[in-house]
């Protein structure tokens, strides 16, 4: 033995899990959806993603190094993940300067102001998306048509949810929704690719089923009931069978818009979601319900971002009141 023995309290073993591992696994899980987006939108996807990720990483480094004068944690992957998720929430032909503003808002205001990773009350990427949406409504709601792959002069088109909400014409079919050949934000298209990434996260135990299943379950149930009971009001009429109408409507809502991206990758963010499984179920049901209310009764066609932000705000309250099941209560 070369040195005097190290003395420390037990346990003397560690699982080897780390923040980096978790972040890089989420990044890996987002790759299939990124591939689909690259195929559907072409250069726009590449440019937007590169700008968002680089800007987030750079802002994190600069702020920690020169403003806060702290050791930088830029290698933990969380800034890169915020950048990627921000890009996934933007139209693929968004002007670069707007993306940079979004990145500065996400990292500077939402994350570092509150003390960096672990202390931000809101999901940085979603908060930035909503900030951009209310600041630049025109640019943020102009989506290029799928499969054109041109960056500057792309023809624009409606997203599936807009089509469903406003007129019910030219709705994409199930194949388009699953494979991603529809309009929409950069990373929200391609249900299969998103589900693949989600399955990987579940398998590697980065996330648990509670948040995604409670969100998707609530949305499914809610939209199924609406489509079943009142199909004519929601452009859900496909047949004379009310149950079929309800199912079609519900599946359409599950696979379109940012729901899968939100439920699998954004709402499951550790920092801004409740810590107990019971709390996570409440949180998920809340996100699902608010999403459907905004989508169907609100003026926006899409409401996942708002729903997640609202439930992010309620998370400390949920953590305070919803406690884990104790081994055995009684006197302690």
């Amino acid at each position: 033995m070369k040195q005097t023995p190290i003395v420390a309290m037990s346990p003397h073993l560690h699982s080897g899990d780390s923040v980096e591992k978790k972040m890089y696994r989420v990044l890996l899980a987002l790759l299939p959806a990124f591939g689909v987006s690259l195929f559907v939108f072409g250069w726009g996807t590449l440019i937007t993603t590169l700008v968002a990720v680089t800007a987030c990483v750079l802002f994190e480094y600069l702020i920690q190094r020169f403003v806060l004068k702290l050791p930088t944690t830029v290698t933990d992957g969380s800034a890169a993940l915020t950048g990627l998720l921000l890009a996934f929430n933007l139209p693929s032909n968004l002007p670069i300067w707007i993306i940079v503003i979004g990145a500065l808002f996400a990292i500077g205001l939402v994350k570092q102001t509150f003390g960096g990773l672990g202390n931000n009350p809101f999901n940085p990427a979603i908060a930035a998306r909503v900030f951009l949406l209310v600041s630049f409504p025109a640019q943020m709601t102009t989506w290029p048509q799928p499969m054109q792959r041109s960056y500057l002069d792309a023809l624009t088109g409606a997203t599936p949810l807009e089509a469903l909400k406003y007129h019910g014409h030219d709705l994409p079919n199930l194949n388009d929704l699953l494979l991603g050949t529809t309009g929409g934000s950069l990373g929200e298209i391609g249900a299969l690719a998103l589900l693949l990434g989600g399955a990987y996260l579940l398998l590697r135990k980065v996330i648990t089923w509670h948040v995604p299943v409670s969100i998707l379950g609530t949305v499914f149930l809610f939209t199924f009931l609406l489509g079943w009971l009142n199909p004519t009001s929601y452009h859900a009429v496909v047949s004379t069978n009310a149950v079929t109408n309800g199912l079609t409507f519900a599946v359409f809502h599950l696979l379109s818009g940012g729901l899968l991206l939100g439920a699998l990758f954004m709402a499951t963010d550790y920092v801004t979601s409740p810590m107990t499984t019971k709390g996570q179920l409440i949180y998920g049901v809340g996100i699902g319900a608010i999403t459907v209310i905004i989508r169907i009764f609100g003026s926006y066609p899409e409401g996942v971002s708002f729903a997640i932000l609202i439930m992010n705000a309620l998370t400390p309250l949920i953590n305070h009141y919803v406690k884990p099941t104790r081994f055995s209560p009684g006197r302690s």
């Binding site: 023995p5 037990s10 780390s18 003390g115 810590m275 499984t277 055995s328």
Partner: protein, 450 residues
């Protein structure tokens, strides 16, 4: 074996699956040489210090009472070696604190005649329950799993309380350790007889032996033996840490949960460690006091890791020599298992009744990674077998919010280390929980006195 993992029992809340590192599971128990000097601590048990009965210059024989229990919650201590008492003065124990001890220079190996040293199995016992407990008390038996609670106290439930089952804790969920495993294989029937004696002593109708699934050979062997003994059942358990925790084991086997702040006897259960059960057999059937025990000496780089039967009071350094010497790359020495054992500052401290192992960790495993901010992932909550919130406790302890810690049930914590093990930010959760527990405990005591 036909027990699928799904049908096997386990506890319901929390728990982790550390790699098991049972390097020495196939190494038969080997008896070590005698030490040159045995250092016998007087506080090898929970409760009052034992009172020394010998002084400098006295000759003692193996098994002779050298310090007697001081009150009900205390335990007798016997000479583990024969020879001459050289001094009675404090030495550092495994925690590093100085504790009074009797030092005996070894001369030969002369045992008391009353002790039956043969290997013959004695299955019958016509003693009264009270007499069995008395023999256990005489022999100075304490819980050998590490807590060192005097066994005669456990087997004497307070009036109005009756044990419905005795559970032998042969779970050995700590990684690396294999002493109970080897003892089950080599002294299986003795352990079953020991369990029968404990059942007779407490008038408990049922006896369970809980063994984790990674010890299939022991499960099969014990199942074949236990057929001959009515009322005894071997319960295979799923592998999960901390299944060897008393409350978790009772939950796994009986489905009863010991209420917060209560004892196992409140749900009619008494839990005895496998080594303790073997010691009960030896004390009652062979009149042999607790003077030796089995330790696992292990570590990846050791040349001769193994399970060693060693006299109490031998220095840890002797065990290290038996196992081939301390490897070059060792950075941490742990008395006990890696999850709950204590890191030693030197190998000079003696083996006690509660020592379960000597583990030598290489530097890559021994150094803690820097602690980072909590990312609120909730892994510590999922891992906690008591259903607590370790991340919250750490913050509260940092802010010295002792009253809030007490309200959040910090005293339920069993210090198993699942939270620290699971934390991706390498936060020293359990360190802060211990600070919280100690302070809340002290505040409670002062409140009671006031």
């Amino acid at each position: 074996m036909k027990t699928s993992a799904l049908r096997m029992k386990t506890f319901k809340i929390g728990g982790i699956h550390p790699p098991d590192y049972k390097l020495t599971a196939q190494h038969p128990i080997h008896t070590t040489r005698l030490p040159e000097t045995a250092v016998v601590l007087l506080n090898q048990h929970l409760g009052a210090l034992a009172q020394p009965l010998v002084g400098k210059g006295d000759q003692v024989k193996v098994g002779q009472l050298i310090a007697k229990a001081n009150g009900f919650i205390s335990a007798n201590i016997h000479a583990p070696v024969s020879g001459k008492v050289v001094k009675v003065e404090p030495v550092a124990d495994v925690t590093g604190y100085a504790q009074p001890a009797i030092h005996i220079a070894v001369e030969g190996d002369e045992w008391l005649e009353s002790i039956d040293r043969s290997d013959d199995l004695i299955t019958t016992c016509d003693l009264e329950p009270k007499a069995i407990v008395d023999r256990i008390f005489e022999a100075g038996i304490v819980g050998l799993g590490g807590a060192c609670f005097p066994t005669h106290v456990k087997l004497s439930p307070p009036p109005g309380k009756q044990a419905s089952c005795i559970i032998v804790n042969a779970v050995e969920c700590e990684p690396y350790l294999t002493t109970d495993h080897r003892l089950l294989l080599e002294k299986g029937e003795e352990i079953v007889v020991g369990l029968c004696l404990a059942m007779k002593a407490t008038n408990a109708p049922t006896g369970y032996i809980g063994i984790e699934a990674n010890k299939k050979d022991a499960i099969l062997y014990l199942q074949s033996i236990s057929k001959k003994y009515p009322g005894i059942q071997v319960v295979p358990l799923q592998m999960k840490y901390p299944q060897g925790g008393e409350k978790q084991l009772i939950d796994a086997i009986t489905g009863c949960r010991v209420p917060s702040g209560k004892l196992p006897i409140d749900v009619g259960a008494i839990v005895l460690n496998a080594s303790t059960t073997f010691a009960i057999y030896e004390a009652v059937q062979k009149k042999k006091p607790l003077i030796e025990r089995v330790l696992t000496v292990t570590g990846e780089a050791l040349t001769q890791p193994g399970n060693y039967r060693v006299r109490i009071g031998s220095p840890m350094s002797m065990l290290a020599e038996e196992a081939g010497g301390v490897p070059e790359n060792t950075a941490k020495l742990v008395a006990g298992g890696p999850m709950m054992g204590k890191a030693l500052s030197s190998l000079n401290s003696p083996v006690t009744k509660g020592s379960g192992g000597l583990l030598m960790l290489a530097s890559e495993n021994a150094v803690r990674k820097p602690s980072r901010q909590c990312i609120r992932c909730g892994k510590c909550i999922t891992a906690c077998p008591m259903g607590l919130e370790p991340h919250l406790f750490m913050t509260l302890a940092e802010f010295e919010a002792w009253d809030q810690l007490e309200k959040a049930h910090i005293m339920d914590c069993i210090e198993c280390g699942c939270c620290t093990f699971s934390c991706p930010s390498n936060r020293p959760l359990l360190d802060y929980l211990r600070i919280g527990k100690t302070t809340v405990g002290r505040l409670r005591k002062t409140r009671q006195q006031a």
